[in-house]
């Protein structure tokens, strides 16, 4: 016990959360930055190390738990959300982080993903979206753009992709954020917001796979385009972007549009002010939907609304039942109701 006290009194640093395992992702992979962002924020959560569990599915991203010095569970393909749900329900005091990829989460794990969103189970779900199957070496995923040539689509795909934000919000997720792998500081901020949110918190990270989809996010993250192709969603602030901060998102009728401040009489007052807390999914859905070339991509916390969590609701029912029941143990139950005695 002595050891434990010493351990907890000392301020934790990111080194405390790095495991002794060699990180085996490819050099230059976006996963490294996401790992760093998570290791950066964990010491600041105020949670004991033993009260954090990282759960993953299968794929490159899902090796994540092995690199974190926390409790960790590397499950099977697509099923991380179900496993994470079990962990959280078993012990709601734990901070549960789920790591998944676009294939793991939106293909084989699609069912568990939408139901985790719908139930509002209190887990932090980080979806690494590189729009490809990396570990199996380059097949298209449900997030691969139409027409992309891959190992299993030599003529280009002939199906349209999911947008994970639309999928999550459509499935009633109470939190959705988006970040890019090359901005770990911003990711750490998003993960902090995710941690603070009660309920499912889905963060999509646009992550580059050097090998199989290199540059897939270049039109969003490239140095020369990023200011014009990313709009930072800050609650209560107008959605202004651009190298010269002269562009904005305006709600025109029932649609969003990109406008230039100073042109055609448009002022800052015309720009849509971001409200992450509005329960209606309409504008959040439209923000999540925005894509180049006609729109910048929305970055930051797009949706963060309050709703009862599944785990709290279950615990409340349990507390009520315990308080109102005359049966307190198995002997009570076994002897309850219709019984008879043979002497």
């Amino acid at each position: 016990m002595e050891n434990q006290n010493i351990e907890q009194e000392v301020m934790l640093t990111k080194e405390d959360f790095a495991s002794d395992q060699v990180v085996k992702w490819c050099p230059g992979c976006g996963d490294h930055a996401i790992l760093k962002a998570v290791q950066d924020i964990f010491p600041k959560l105020g949670k004991k190390k033993e009260d954090i569990v990282v759960v993953s599915g299968i794929g490159c991203s899902s090796r994540f738990p092995y690199y974190m010095n926390t409790y960790g569970f590397h499950s099977i393909h697509g099923r991380a959300a179900a496993a994470a749900t079990g962990v959280k329900l078993a012990n709601p005091n734990l901070s549960v982080w789920m790591i998944t990829g676009d294939g793991d989460c939106t293909a084989i794990g699609g069912n568990h993903f939408i139901h985790a969103c719908r139930r509002n189970i209190d887990i932090n779900l980080i979806l690494f979206n590189n729009r490809i199957y990396g570990m199996t070496k380059g097949q298209f995923s449900p997030c691969t753009f139409r027409g992309t040539k891959t190992k299993t689509s030599p003529q280009g795909t002939y199906e349209d992709p999911f947008n994970p934000g639309e999928l999550a919000i459509g499935a009633k997720a109470t939190f959705f954020a988006r970040g890019v792998d090359i901005n770990p500081k911003e990711l750490s901020e998003i993960f902090w917001e995710s941690y603070k949110h009660d309920g499912i918190a889905v963060t999509e990270v646009l992550q580059n796979c050097m090998i199989f989809s290199n540059g897939v996010h270049e039109n969003i993250t490239g140095k020369d385009v990023r200011d014009d192709m990313q709009v930072k969603c800050v609650h209560g602030q107008p959605l202004i972007f651009g190298k010269n901060r002269d562009k904005g998102i305006r709600l025109n009728g029932n649609q969003l549009e990109v406008v230039k401040i100073g042109e055609n009489g448009i002022t800052e007052k015309d720009i849509l002010v971001h409200d992450k807390t509005t329960e209606d999914t309409g504008i959040h859905m439209m923000l999540a939907h925005m894509m180049p070339p006609h729109f910048p991509v929305a970055i930051g916390v797009i949706r963060d609304v309050k709703a009862p969590t599944f785990n709290d609701s279950l615990d409340q029912v349990i507390e009520n039942e315990k308080a109102n029941s005359k049966i307190h143990c198995m002997d009570d139950l076994l002897n309850s109701g219709s019984t008879w005695t043979i002497d």
């Binding site: 050891n3 499950s75 099977i76 078993a90 012990n91 198995m330 139950l333 076994l334 219709s338 008879w340």
Partner: protein, 613 residues
């Protein structure tokens, strides 16, 4: 009791209440069971209702039945051929012809015979007059009309009055078996508390049926089954699925590990989920997941987090859970998987019993993925089998499959209520907080199990998963020698469970000419058939296996020394194949049936006699 007829004592009786789905036969059967308990008999019951929720009225498909087997001697089965059939319409006769024996008493509502009813049942003529039922004692009573007559002063409409006709039929049966009506009165008083008119109406119809049987001398004899010589104690009636749920809860309380169930509705296993959702007062977390895979995966997550975790399903669901079961094998976590088997393959016969998931339970996973398989032998026995499954899972850090079946799950039996203090202890190998030497795959020498290090415990942070791990340290390892070691360890760990289970019992002479082997839910019928032939002086013995993987360590001695061995099971010979594989030197004959029905005692006796020739 003013019985004018002669009272005949019987050892045991099978009675089946049968009618259209809306005729209230389940309630009638349950009320008769209650009075059977009160009479001190041993008994077992089985509901037999259609898979459809509202099947076409009056048809054979719409017949709903409830069978009660009660006796003066121990009752092992829910019974097969009936001594008494209560048939509320022609379709009920048609549907139950298979279950009649020469001399069966058929109590029939003669008012139900109309051209339309006969046509719906598929009869050209009234079967009670055209000779169809010549081998049986048909007792025709105008049950519908007499019910209306009894209720004529109650100011009820026709439809409401007819709803009580099942109570008239029950009154007749109560008379036939010389039963007191008090237990039924008591039920009315509890059920319809505050509705005096309803209580009075039901009593009136019940009494009318009873007196009608008496006054009209419907039967030449009436019957009495003396109280059974049951062990002293407190008893209740329990279904297999409820017993399984309670066994799990008992194991949770005993071990101190909270119960988590992740499950998905599937016939005939759903009742375990439904039962466990009731007991949030006892801290049970029963979670209805989005599919079968989420059911087991949430349970595995909960097992990792220190719960006594369970998933419940039937055959098709077990198929879906295969990959996740492999994960539980690999991560060496305790997990109970209950498979309430039904007819397969695919959707098969959802409401009928079968024992055909055995091979799937034993081997239905990728890789060499051994786990423990045990089987329930009776409805009440499901309590102890579930308890034992949980004990082995937690004490040996392994998934355990418990095989039940639709007949056990839905059937009910007399259950002697145990005291929690008398149940065996359950002590999982919990890792100690801040143990400086803790390693995820460190094992104890005796059982080769790893420790359970639960998230939230200081100083034990570790990672597990489906990838192969280095023995001891638990880091990822693709080392060839390590995989050999780990595969062998996983196998040996399961084999050593044999040292923690009872020896296989043999009922009868250990050198009997014929050894009858069975497993799972066929226990009752097989044991009854063997007992019958033993009483005739035949050289026969019975070995019923509750533990299948691993087999009890004396299995070979049990198989030794017989002229013949026959393995009886409701599949095409899966346990027989398993025994041949493990003990190739013994010749195992097979007796199999796959009709979605249990064995009958008669067909077993015929087979055994044939083998003994």
């Amino acid at each position: 009791m003013t019985a004018k007829s002669k009272v005949v004592a019987l050892e045991h009786v099978v009675i089946r209440f049968s009618g259209d789905s809306g005729d209230g036969m389940q309630l009638t059967g349950n009320l008769f069971s209650d009075s059977t308990a009160f009479a001190g008999n041993d008994f077992a019951t089985f509901p037999d209702y259609p898979a459809e929720i509202r099947p076409p009225q009056g048809t054979v498909a719409g017949v709903s039945g409830f069978q009660v087997h009660f006796g003066h001697k121990p009752v092992h089965t829910t019974g097969d051929l009936c001594d008494v059939l209560v048939a509320m319409n022609p379709a009920s006769i048609k549907a139950n012809m298979r279950w009649l024996r020469p001399g069966t008493i058929i109590i029939f509502d003669s008012d139900s015979v109309t051209d339309k009813a006969l046509e719906k049942a598929g009869y050209a003529d009234d079967p009670t007059v055209d000779g169809t039922l010549a081998d049986y004692q048909v007792v025709k009573a105008p049950i519908s009309e007499l019910t209306k007559e009894a209720l004529k002063d109650f100011g009820m409409d026709n439809k409401s009055m007819l709803k009580s006709k099942n109570m008239f039929a029950l009154g007749i049966v109560m008379y036939l078996f010389n039963r007191e009506l008090d237990t039924v009165y008591k039920y009315f008083e509890t059920k319809f508390k505050g509705k005096d008119q309803v209580i009075k109406a039901n009593r009136t119809v019940l009494d009318a049926g009873y007196h009608y049987a008496d006054t009209w001398e419907l039967f030449t004899n009436t019957y009495r089954v003396e109280a059974a010589d049951l062990e002293k104690g407190k008893y209740r009636n329990i279904t297999g699925n409820t017993a399984a749920a309670w066994g799990l809860m008992a194991a949770s309380e005993k071990s101190g590990r909270p119960l988590f169930l992740g499950s998905y509705p599937i016939t005939p296993a759903t009742d375990i989920l439904a039962e466990l959702t009731k007991y949030k007062n006892l801290n049970v977390k029963a979670y209805q997941a989005e599919d079968e895979i989420a059911g087991i995966m949430s349970s595995i997550g909960a097992a990792y987090t220190g719960c006594m975790a369970v998933t419940t399903t039937s055959g098709p669901g077990l198929s879906l859970k295969s990959e996740a079961m492999g994960l539980a094998v690999m991560t060496e976590l305790p997990l109970v998987i209950i498979d309430v088997q039904r007819g397969g393959p695919s959707t098969g016969l959802p409401t009928k019993m079968e024992q055909s998931d055995l091979m799937q339970a034993l081997y239905g996973r990728n890789g060499d993925a051994p786990l423990v398989v045990i089987a329930a032998r009776s409805s009440a026995g499901c309590f102890y089998t579930a308890y034992e499954a949980a004990r082995i899972a937690m004490e040996h850090m392994t998934p355990v499959i418990m095989l039940s079946d639709g007949s056990l799950g839905n059937g009910s039996e007399v259950f002697r209520i145990p005291k929690m203090a008398d149940l065996p202890s359950i002590t999982p190998p919990l890792a100690k907080a801040n143990d400086p030497d803790y390693m995820p795959y460190r094992r104890d020498e005796k059982w080769l199990r790893r420790e359970w290090a639960i998230p939230g415990t200081p100083g034990l942070r570790h990672r597990v998963g489906g990838l192969e791990k280095e023995n001891g340290k638990g880091n990822l390892s693709t080392n060839p020698e390590n995989h050999q070691i780990m595969t062998e360890l996983r196998e040996e760990k399961i084999n050593r469970v044999a040292n923690d289970i009872p020896l296989q019992e043999i009922y009868g002479d250990k050198n009997a000419d014929l050894l009858v082997v069975s497993w799972g839910g066929t226990y009752g019928t097989v044991r009854t058939a063997v007992e019958g032939l033993m009483e005739e002086g035949k050289s026969i013995a019975h070995a019923h296996f509750d533990y299948i993987m691993p087999l009890p360590r004396n299995t070979e001695e049990v198989l030794k020394g017989h002229k013949k061995i026959v393995v009886c099971e409701i599949n095409r010979g899966q346990f027989a194949k398993y025994l041949r594989m493990n003990f190739p030197e013994y010749k195992c004959e097979q007796f199999n049936k796959v009709m979605g029905l249990p064995f009958t005692i008669g067909e077993l006796e015929a087979k055994f006699n044939d083998l003994l020739k």
